[in-house]
């Protein structure tokens, strides 16, 4: 802070020009969270946090978001690798397709999923022919979460792979390594931090998914009612459970963001070392 002030006093420009507007935004971002924590920290917090609704929402959220992240890793890593290292016709279209869910409103995602994979959906008949009905199942929650969150993993991993020096790959190939060995022993470890930070981002997004879930998976306690859904519906049921769950999500998000910051700081150190 003092450093800032000194710089501006040289320009004869008062620092409050920067500080005042910033405080408005900081207040807007911070005060609601403070209020939430203030409301939550009553004697009933644990009653609400340990209520059956809260517990089943928490369990379901952890199960589905973890599954979504695993799917994102298993399918997103190869895709990111292809996008970062290979050149092919129509690559831009694929990149656009992957960026799209990040900016798309989740309600659009939910509607699109329902129209595609719903029972009467465009591909629904094929799915039911092989005995799969997605809507209103826990699997639908995972599909919705993966749809909105996996692109974040692909984006992060793609950058991670692209940043690796091409010469390393070439050297390994000269030494006789095949494509898989190059990936396994060179690319994967070197992109590790990018993959990890992509994982964290994906997980927070999956954990927070609401719009696509409520449209595609519906709302049933223990089956499709994740934490964000329980918060939304709890708002009308009495604020206690909603507030307790919100605080839990805020805490989880802070922890995950903290992990990501550490990872990012670590990766810059590595870059400087190189």
């Amino acid at each position: 802070m003092r450093h800032l002030f000194r710089r501006f006093s040289i320009d004869h420009n008062p620092g409050w020009v920067f500080i005042l507007p910033s405080l408005v935004l900081i207040g807007l971002l911070g005060l609601p969270l403070l209020a939430l924590a203030w409301r939550a920290l009553g004697k009933d917090f644990f009653n609400y946090a340990l209520s059956p609704t809260a517990i089943s929402a928490l369990k379901l959220s952890l199960l589905t978001s973890t599954t979504s992240v695993l799917i994102a890793i298993a399918t997103g890593t190869p895709l990111a690798y292809i996008l970062a290292r290979w050149d092919f016709h129509g690559k831009t279209a694929f990149e656009l397709l992957i960026d799209l869910p990040v900016v798309l409103p989740p309600s659009v995602a939910g509607l699109a999923l329902l129209i595609a994979f719903g029972r009467q959906g465009v591909f629904g008949a094929w799915l039911s022919a092989i005995g799969i009905t997605l809507p209103f199942t826990t699997a639908a929650v995972v599909v919705a979460q993966t749809f909105v969150s996996a692109p974040l993993f692909v984006r992060s991993a793609r950058v991670g792979f692209a940043e690796i020096d091409k010469q390393l790959e070439e050297a390994a190939t000269v030494e006789g390594a095949n494509e898989w060995q190059v990936f396994r022993f060179i690319m994967f470890p070197l992109a590790g931090r990018a993959l990890l930070s992509g994982l964290v981002l994906t997980w927070t997004r999956a954990l927070g998914e609401f719009g696509a879930t409520i449209m595609f998976a519906g709302n049933l306690e223990g089956k499709t009612q994740t934490m964000p859904l329980a918060i939304y519906l709890g708002f009308e049921r009495g604020l206690g459970v909603a507030v307790a769950l919100s605080v839990m999500l805020v805490v989880v998000s802070i922890v995950l963001l903290g992990i990501m910051r550490r990872l990012e700081r670590g990766s810059t150190v590595v870059m400087q070392d190189i």
Partner: protein, 283 residues
């Protein structure tokens, strides 16, 4: 210096935006300053009447709103249709509205208790009952009410916080008391529920999409969606859903609010509601 002025302006705009919500929006009252001179008496003052109404009233109230606007030049009726429990929560949390029309007394009573409505005992303006709806191709092959307990069925109803969800559970209770259905009928039917929706129109949409084999909604909803198949629920199991209406104490247009309520209760208003499948209280 120019930049400072700009920033101050921005902050001022931000603070102004955070001001009391009761201030009428400039867009609705502003008259173009360079407009050609017109005798002031010719233009009625533009006013907006805000009506919070149960989702089941969507079609009927939209039509009533158009008629009301036609009869009151310069008046715009702005609707907020949602589950009554959502609306009562919004009003309790400070949403500004003129009229509240609820699908049950529970949500209206919350506002009466909080002194948020003008009357101590708001009038019922209409009643409704429930019906079973099926997608037009009836994928679950549902033909009787007993079929609702069949274990292979996917059923969508409203959440137990929503009036239509409360009524649906009452009806299941009533049926379970009848040996023709069996004491475990309610449990079996509720086990078939794949989603508890937040308002009745969401149930209709999902049944229309064919995502569920059946849904429990108001008979008025089936009038709005004529392509759906229906199974009637006999009166001895059915409920009489009473819809109360009241002007809110925080109304910005109290005069218009009572005019609107009077119109809803008038012969014209009741005829529109009847057309959309509701039962008028003044036959």
């Amino acid at each position: 210096m120019k930049r400072i002025a700009l920033l101050v302006l921005l902050v001022a705009a931000l603070l102004a935006a955070c001001g009391p919500a009761a201030t009428p929006t400039p867009a609705s009252t502003a008259v173009p300053p360079t407009a050609t001179p017109v005798p002031p008496t010719a233009i009625p003052e533009p006013r907006t009447l805000t009506v919070f109404a149960a989702a089941s009233l969507t079609d009927a109230f939209t039509e009533i709103g158009h008629n009301f606007e036609a009869a009151h030049p310069g008046v715009t009726v702005a609707f907020n249709f949602a589950g009554s429990q959502t609306l009562s929560t919004q009003i309790t949390q400070g949403a500004v509205a003129d009229v509240f029309a609820s699908a049950n007394h529970t949500e209206m009573d919350k506002l009466v208790t909080g002194s948020l409505v003008q009357q101590a005992a708001p009038n019922d303006f209409v009643t409704n009952k429930l019906v079973v709806i099926l997608p037009k191709d009836n994928p679950g092959n549902v033909t009787t009410l007993q079929d609702l307990a069949r274990s292979d069925l996917k059923l969508i109803i409203c959440d137990s916080t929503v009036p239509a969800g409360k009524y649906a559970r009452q009806i299941l209770d009533n049926m379970a008391k009848d040996p023709a259905f069996g004491a475990d009928f309610k449990t079996k039917v509720l086990a078939n529920v794949v989603s508890n929706e937040n308002d009745v129109k969401l149930v209709v949409t999902k049944v229309q999409l064919g995502e569920a084999d059946a849904g429990l909604v108001y008979i008025s909803d089936s009038v709005s969606a004529p392509e759906l198949k229906t199974i009637e629920i006999p009166a001895n199991y059915n409920v009489v859903a009473k819809y109360p209406i009241a002007a809110l104490t925080g109304a910005l247009q109290p005069g218009l609010a009572s005019d609107f309520i009077a119109y809803v209760l008038s012969a014209d208003g009741q005829a529109i509601l009847k057309k959309w499948g509701f039962t008028p209280v003044t036959p």
